[in-house]
């Protein structure tokens, strides 16, 4: 009695999967060709193959050269610092924002609209805006000086091209908060207020309700979004290039510098750095995917 049904279900599922694959094929093809192809060609070059010349030798020398360079540790630490701090701050702020947004449902629409603005603005634009806003001769500094709060450009704190990468962190945080917020908001809305209300009837206080109800609910999605943001900030080039210090530089900027070097022999090292970045980014995305799976399962079989 049951067997045919499951078989049917299985068949429909395979048909569905095939259908889905067919629909995704054009996009997949492009991604595989451009991204996969680039990754493959890059790996070949980083491993010593030089197209169009006969001097191809298989070697790990470029990777070894990069990893043993004294700059690698500093660059890696710098990149890790920027990616971790901006992700953590964005995650914390997003949780607070999402929870308060779900509560004040009435104002939702306007708030939603405001939240969507950062999503649509490119990182580059925000980086340039912050440059104008926060530079020692920027708008904020001029305003402070005009109000008599600072003595002039020189006494305004350094926020751009500074040691702690504050300008870069601000750009990323501003940009990623809405992204993470929307991810959690979807979960919170789906689950509805019932669990929270149940908690309330059991006299759980706000902190207890958050810690025992909301947090477990959103944790997988929050983690997934966090790893996506981490992956992005770890591999992004333009913001640190514009707002960072000339030295030490983050890994993507270092990779670019080597790749664009007038000396063609520096290229394989640039690609090797790029591949190291890609490996870390892919690991982060895999973790994110894993958490997404958990979140999905949780939604299908709550509790």
């Amino acid at each position: 009695m049951f067997a045919p049904v499951t078989e049917d279900a299985a068949r429909t599922r395979t048909i569905e999967t095939a259908h889905l694959l067919l629909l995704l094929a054009p996009a997949l093809l492009i991604i595989l060709l451009l991204f996969g192809g680039g990754l493959l060609l890059g790996s070949l070059q980083a491993l010593g193959s030089q197209p169009f010349t006969e001097k191809s030798i298989f070697t790990f020398a470029h990777f070894i050269a990069v990893l043993t360079d004294p700059d690698f540790a500093t660059s890696f630490a710098m990149t890790m610092y920027i990616a971790t701090v901006s992700t953590l701050v964005a995650v914390l702020a997003s949780v607070a924002l999402a929870i308060s947004l779900v509560r004040c449902a009435a104002a939702n629409r306007i708030l939603h609209f405001f939240l969507q603005i950062p999503l649509t603005v490119p990182h580059l634009v925000i980086a340039i805006s912050l440059l104008f806003l926060l530079a020692p001769t920027g708008i904020l500094s001029r305003l402070c000086s005009f109000l008599g709060m600072t003595a002039g450009a020189a006494s305004f704190p350094l926020l751009i091209n500074d040691t702690y990468a504050i300008g870069i962190l601000l750009t990323y945080i501003w940009k990623e908060i809405p992204f993470i917020t929307f991810m959690i908001l979807a979960v919170l809305k789906n689950s509805g207020p019932e669990l929270d209300d149940a908690g309330r009837t059991l006299r759980a206080n706000a902190w207890q309700r958050f810690y025992h109800i909301t947090l477990p609910l959103i944790a997988p999605s929050l983690g997934a979004a966090g790893f996506i943001v981490f992956a992005f900030t770890f591999g992004a080039f333009e913001v640190p290039y514009l707002l960072g210090r000339t030295y030490p530089m983050v890994l993507p900027v270092w990779a670019y510098k080597n790749y664009a070097d007038i000396d063609l022999m520096a290229r394989p090292e640039g690609i090797a750095i790029g591949l190291i970045i890609a490996a870390i980014v892919i690991c982060s995305l895999l973790l994110s995917q894993g958490l997404m799976q958990i979140a999905r399962r949780q939604r299908e079989y709550p509790g």
Binding site: T137, T163, Y247, I262
Partner: protein, 409 residues
């Protein structure tokens, strides 16, 4: 039906061979100029060039193309590329594959490192520059013309224009700017935090480092000929020592550098720093015109001169329309074409000609060209030109700066 087809094919073959005959009938190395112009009639020139400068594209596609068609019945096709190095590596492959004729590229806009690669791998047709009638207006004794970043030109490319580094300052803030590199260094020490240069390998930052390097060279022309590594090391280490020692007196105490000349210009306009500089002699005027700089901004060159380079056109060894490419190169050097190019609203590029060699009336036209308030006169600029050092020196300096000055090792 079959017969007609055969006939058509036959005609096609004949016409094709005729075309081949027409170009190969004359030996371009020996032919007279008239014969070359005749052979160029009806040919199409595919000109590969960096396409990132709209003013240049417009100049080439409208003015140059129209005049070539009109005067010589030559069709000019501009092929914009991101980096001419791509074309050079394509030629390397074609050379290896033994493709000696019928190449796609007839003309290339080129200089420096790419020219060196081309010359080293025998990728160019020539020498042809001395065949062009308009060469008589070029001052070939000038180091920045007979040497292209230290590589002897030897007629393998024809000059098209040139650019020169100028210092930019605001008369309202700095009434008496330093006149030499030595004075500039003193000025930087006396005015901490008011000077910056873009971090090499940025093109503009790199040329500043080369000026410091020249300051510590006993003879600038030494680098154009035979020099020893020891001589280079001596001037280079003095350069790194000075730039390291100057760091505390630089903008932000040298902890960071502007990432581009655009950023340096912004810092200058905002009054964070008191000087800017550019490898385009008319940049200050243009920025005044665009409202980016105050009208009190002016430019100057050092007494010892500033670095200038010439940009050229070259013809690949396997070009299909060599004759027309030569006629084009010659036309580009004509007083008429150089004049149009020098107009500030067209491109504002520096003439490749020595204008004193032109007829009096044309000389006057060049002198009368509107220059913009902050641009120096051609005479003043040309009297203060230093050649670029060879590409090897440029690369070594950039690497050395990064090691010693930026990373302090």
């Amino acid at each position: 039906m079959k017969k007609t087809l055969q006939l058509v094919l036959l005609l096609l073959v004949i016409s094709l061979t005729c075309q081949v005959d027409k170009t190969q009938a004359i030996d371009l190395h020996k032919a007279s100029w008239d014969e070359i112009v005749q052979a160029a009639d009806g040919q199409t020139v595919d000109w590969y060039m960096w396409g990132g400068f709209p003013a240049v594209n417009t100049y080439v596609n409208t003015y140059v193309a129209a005049r070539l068609k009109e005067k010589y019945n030559i069709t000019l096709r501009q092929v914009p590329v991101k980096d001419i190095a791509e074309v050079v590596s394509k030629l390397v492959i074609e050379k290896q594959a033994g493709k000696t004729s019928g190449g796609n590229v007839d003309l290339m806009w080129i200089n420096g490192e790419n020219f060196r690669t081309c010359k080293r791998h025998d990728l160019l047709f020539g020498p042809f520059a001395d065949k062009l009638p308009n060469q008589r207006f070029v001052d070939w004794s000038k180091p920045s013309v007979y040497n292209d970043f230290g590589t002897p030109v030897e007629g393998m490319e024809s000059p098209w224009g040139s650019a020169q580094m100028v210092m930019i300052y605001d008369t309202a803030r700095t009434p008496e700017p330093p006149g030499s590199m030595a004075q500039l260094i003193d000025w930087i020490r006396q005015h901490p935090g008011k000077f910056a240069y873009p971090a090499p390998p940025d093109f503009t930052g790199s040329v500043f480092v080369r000026h410091v390097f020249y300051h510590y060279s006993e003879d600038v022309n030494l680098w154009q000929g035979e020099y020893t590594q020891k001589q280079f090391e001596k001037a280079a280490s003095a350069t790194y020592r000075l730039l390291t020692e100057l760091k505390p007196a630089l903008w932000r105490q040298g902890t960071t550098y502007p990432e581009s000349p655009v950023r340096m210009n912004t810092l200058f306009a905002d009054g964070e720093i008191d000087f800017s500089f550019s490898y385009h002699q008319a940049e200050a005027s243009r920025n005044i015109q665009d409202g980016l700089f105050p009208p009190t901004v002016r430019s100057f060159v050092f007494d010892q001169g500033t670095i200038a380079n010439t940009h050229f056109v070259a013809i690949p060894y396997n070009a299909a329309d060599t004759a027309a490419a030569m006629v084009t190169a010659n036309f580009l050097l004509s007083a008429e074409a150089q004049m149009e190019k020098a107009k500030p609203d067209v491109w504002g590029d520096f003439p490749a000609l020595d204008i004193t060699r032109l007829p009096r009336q044309q000389q006057q036209q060049f002198i009368d060209l509107p220059r913009g308030p902050a641009t120096l006169s051609n005479q003043e600029l040309q009297a203060h030109q230093l050649p670029e050092p060879p590409s090897e020196i440029l690369i070594q300096l950039e690497k050395g700066w990064e090691q010693h000055v930026l990373k302090g090792r």
